[in-house]
Structure formats: C-alpha cells, structure tokens
Symmetry: C2
Subunit: 337 residues, 2 copies
DNA sequence: ATAGGTTGTCGAAGCGCTTCGACTGCTTTT
DNA sequence: AAAAGCAGTCGAAGCGCTTCGACAACCTAT
C-alpha cells in the first residue's frame, strides 16, 4: 500500500504539500503540482479512507436507508437508490446501504461512529420514529417522503396531493362522474405512509370541488385480490367509469379483468395510473399516467444534502410537480345509458 | 463526541483496557468489564469508524456493486441487495453501494483506499473486465454470477444450466415436442451475461437428449415486442405447444396474447417461467416456474465473503440447485391434430 | 521454597492523513 | 528604501483507535 509520505518522498516535497495538491486548499506552484501528480500516477497512490476520515472528521459517505418491505413498488426504490449512488459519486461521495430493519438504531450508530457524514431516509412515515433522533443528533439529513411535521427537516417528494388532484381533474374533464381509486395495500395505509394518504386527500378534495363521486379501496397486488376488489366496487357503484390506480401491481390485473368482463378501455372505462413512465408504456394498454420521477427524487435529495453539508442550505421542503401524460387508457365518458 | 479515552477515564482504567473490553481480544476480569460497559452506556460511547479503520486496517465494510442497467429484472437485484445488507449487518459489517457505472475504476478505488474490506460483484459477464483487477488486487471478493474462467474466484449463482434443463424436462414429461424459449433482451446476450447463455445451453443440451425441438428468441419486455416475437415463433413453428420464458417482463404479455388468440393455457399450450415465486403466483395464470432464490444468493455471498476474510475459506463455486414448482400454467400436450 | 505459567492491566508506539503556524523569498505599496 | 503583503512550502501536532511488549500479581508443579 502506497502512502502519502512515499509520494512526497518520490516527488521530493513534504507530505503536507502532497496533501494540499490533493485537496487544493492552499495554492501550489504549477511545477510542484505537476511533479506530485506525476508521482501519484507512477506509484498508483490512493488516499487511505480511514486516515482521511480520522484526520478530517469527514468520511465522504452518505448513508441511504431503504425500506426492506416489499409491499411497495420495488423498482421505484431501486431507481431512487441508483440515482442517489450515481449523483453522490459525481460529488465525490460514496453511499452506505442501510436497511430499514435496524430502525432508529441505525441512525444512532451512523451518527455516533462518524461512519457517514449525512443520511437519506426513504419510506418515511407520517409519524416516523427516526425523526426525533435525527433532529436531536444534528446529523445533516434529507427525507424522501414527507412526514407530518417537517420543522427543521429537509424533505424531497413528489407532490402526491397534487398528483391525486391531477388524476381526478383529467377524468373530470373527460366527463366521468363516478371514480374508483385502487389504492396501495392496506398495510401501507395502516402504517400511515405519507404518500398514500396525501394522494387520496388531494384526490378527494379536488373531486368534491368538481362534484365527482369517489370510492377508495386499498388493494394488494395480484389478480385474485384485484378481482375481489373490482367486484366489490362495481357492485357498490355500477356506474363507475373512471379508475385511478396507485398500486402498480394491480394495474395489469385490472386491465385484464375489465377486458374479461367486456368493458373496453378507454371506450367504456378510463384508467389513470400513478406509476413510472416505463411501466405505463409497457402495459397491455398504453396507460394514461402520472409518472413517478424516481431519479429526480434521488438526485435532488443528494444535491440538497451536499448543499447542507457545505452550509449552503437549510431545512426545506421540495415538492416535485406531478406530470400527467395522456396515453391510450383514458377517453371521454360513455354517454349515460 | 465521546472518545475511548473519556470512557477509560470515567471507568478508571487505561484506554487499552477499554479497547480490549470492546474487542474481546484479551481476557478482562468480570468486574472491570462490567465497569467499562457501564461507562460506555452512561456516556453513550460509539467507537469512531475512521480511527478504527486506520488503526486496524479493517473497515468492516463490504462493497456491493450493483448493475445500473434496467434491462434485467430489477426486483431480483433489489432482493439480493437487501439480503446482502441484512446478512452483512448480522456479522457486524456495513454495505457500500457501488453502481456498475464506474466499472473497473470502482474496484481500483475501493481496493486502493481501504474503503471496504471486500467486494461483492453482481451482473458478472462471462468475460468481465473487472476480474483481472480483482485477481490482481488480492481483494477478497465474491461474484454473484459465473464468469467463463473462475480460477481463484469465489462465485455464487443459481445453476442456470440445470434450470434450463429442468424446464425442458418438465415440458418433455408432459409430452410437448416443440418448445419455444422467450429469452432476455438481445442486449443481455450481446454482452455475454453468463446466466442467459448458460440457461439456453443447459436447455438445448437436455432437449437434444430428449429429442425435442427448440426455438430460441430473445425478447425485450412489453406487449409490442412480445407480439412481434410470438407471431414470428408461431409462423416458423406452428406446432409449438411449450414455452419457456426467461424474461420476466415478457410473461404477462405472452399470457395475454395467447388468450387473445384463443390458445388456452394450459390446455393448448404450456408455459414455464423462470422468475421469483412471488411473480409466479401473482400472474394472471398461476405459473409453473423455476424460482430465483435471490435472498439465498445474497446471503451465501456474504457468508462466503466473511469466511474468506476470516481465512476459513478459499475460492470456490457454489451453484444453487434450481427448483421447479408446478402450478396452473403447464399441462399435458394436446393430442396431435 | 523456587522456577515457570497464567491472568489482567498499562504505557507507548504507531496507523496515514489534515491542518495550523511559521518561514522564505518575492512583489507591491507608500 | 522600508513596510507590508502574498504565494509557496515545510514541520509538527494531532485525529481516536489497536496492538505489542512489559510487568505485576497470583497460581501451580516440582
């Protein structure tokens, strides 16, 4: 293993000079810099991470806490994680992968040991138990998701409330009056995950303003669960012509079931999904959808975090505006029979 | 921030004693140990990760390199990643998330800087450019996937060749003669990803032994691509009654298209999928499938790695035996018309 | 009783880096 | 021409921990 001292000796300068060449924190003459850089290359020098962390008390690591539940759409999580890792690298940071499993302890451990300089938390619940710790520790952090109380916290999220409103507006404009919302699995609501509740609220409020009727049903993914849920919905509100689907894994089953029952999409019923664009275009009917900008969320989170680390920013909530793309699954409501 | 020295002072012992209490590397009297542990708790001490890494030259971090491509089934990646993180934590290790993007440079960086003690590589290609570096660096590592040359490497993977054979055997036993294989996206074959090629080889060899005809077609996911692929297959081999699907995102489209064409599953055609069990049971027809044991793969990888770090193991290839579960998508071949 | 082991503890020497103050020659200002 | 400033470099002091050798104090065998 090559050390700073060896590079210094090879280049004929002192260790501190090499350090300053590396960090750029003091001016170095062009000739010296070149010589040092040459030595670094020749010897294949890599600064030792531990020594660096010890001396500077900065690890250049960002901790990312991902949920290990699988009841939410996993590819979105993965996309966010990858965006976080990629963006972090662009800024010279590495990413430590923490699972939600450890819970608050992980926050304590990472904060206390100086393992990471900052944290990103995903899958934030409205009343998340990690938040008091985070506030108390003074650890720079960004939440992906919106808890109930955001004082002193930096949060990045899709504006789910606006997302819900947008879906219902689209259907209203097309003349639909009875809307059914296929929600996430019941467990998601039970643990008060912000995005699910906010979507529903935003949707309901706008629906009321527009004079639409809304029926909301949580739904596990898969065909069997969807079949039961759909049957109940059509039983209770036979006139339902618009569907908003938030649970990605219910989308395809819904389309298949509707087809099977002879209800044409979009002639008889319209479907609006809340899902990544890639899913929307790969479905059996190209779906009118509000996209989930996972990469943006990851990227923003890292950028906010680094701004905070550099003292360029403080607690703040960033809500990304939702965008609805009209595709082939929504159309004018059928004339009332 | 509380330091070792402060704990030592509080407990009335020397710093080294506290260190030995923590590591258990020398015997400590019960009374002293208790006193030290008490002080640690009272002061809320957490060892500093950087200092530890510097002094011991072990970071207790495992680097996990995940592909950032999205042309392969993402949830499997995520499941592996989560299993890796969870297992690693159980052994006192943290996980650093590296994206494939950096490629060989990441290996150099992590190896050189002592950031991580070991690496796990996913999405290994048959002739992976990271391998020479890995061999050269002496960095302990485990591959999830099987390259062409495994000398000196530790690898964990599903036995894809046996998987392919298993699928074809099942269909043969049911009396099918003409088999079509819906493969991964062409790009996956082009970059010589081991698992795709091995599956195909295993399947073909066994098919020849059993006297079956096999037609293989790579296929992007989604309805449109699948429609084209299916049309071509049925055009070339109208008598095809058995399908083996490796590309997860082609499965549902295939089922929908067959249904649409009036071919009943499993009465007219049988479908065997290679996918996680969860996907198999959630599909519109409960799929006969060979499962992908993602959590096992992650867990094994970490356990091998830790064994290597502790000098309890050397390079070795672990192939997990595939298991086929019969569900509702496969049945006896229809009588020849 | 004495040589030889154990057991439990301490002190000190680093691990490889960052960073602060100090110093040397210059160039600029007055 | 002296004072002041600046660019460029160095030496040394740590950062908080692990680990090695040393050394008491005690226990066992002869």
């Amino acid at each position: 293993m090559v050390t700073l001292a060896e590079v210094a000796q090879h280049a004929g300068v002192s260790a501190s000079t090499v350090s300053y060449v590396l960090s750029g924190k003091r001016s170095i003459s062009a000739t010296t810099r070149l010589r040092v850089e040459q030595s670094i290359r020749e010897l294949g020098y890599h600064p030792n991470a531990g020594a660096r962390a010890l001396a500077s008390s900065r690890s250049n690591i960002i901790a990312l806490m991902v949920p290990l539940r699988t009841d939410m759409y996993v590819p979105v999580m993965m996309e966010i994680a990858i965006a976080v890792a990629t963006t972090a690298r662009m800024h010279g940071y590495d990413v430590l992968l923490l699972t939600g499993e450890e819970g608050p302890d992980a926050v304590r451990r990472v904060t206390g040991s100086g393992l990471a300089d900052a944290m990103i938390l995903m899958d934030v619940q409205l009343d998340d138990e990690r938040l008091p710790l985070l506030r108390g520790s003074g650890q720079p952090s960004v939440l992906i998701g919106l808890p109930a109380d955001t004082t002193g916290l930096t949060c990045v999220d899709l504006d789910w409330s606006a997302t819900g409103a947008l879906c219902v507006e689209h259907l209203a404009k097309l003349g639909h009056h009875d809307i059914a919302v296929i929600g996430e699995a019941p467990a998601v609501y039970e643990r008060h995950t912000g995005f699910a509740e906010r979507t529903l609220d935003g949707l309901r409020v706008r629906a009321r303003e527009l004079g639409l009727r809304v029926l909301h049903r949580p739904c596990e993914g898969g065909y069997d669960a969807m079949a039961v849920t759909l049957a109940r919905i059509l039983d209770e509100r036979p006139g339902t012509t618009g569907f908003v689907v938030q649970n990605e894994s219910a989308v395809e089953p819904l389309l298949a079931l509707l087809r099977q029952q002879g209800r044409a999409v979009p002639e008889d019923v319209s479907v609006v999904a809340i899902c990544p664009d890639q899913v929307a275009v790969q479905a059996s009917v190209r779906l009118t959808s509000v996209g989930i900008p996972a990469p943006d969320m990851g990227r923003y989170a890292v950028e906010r975090l680094i701004a905070t680390l550099e003292g360029r920013a403080a607690g703040e909530v960033v809500l990304l505006a939702p965008e609805l793309t009209v595709r082939a699954s929504s159309g004018p409501a059928p004339a009332a029979s």
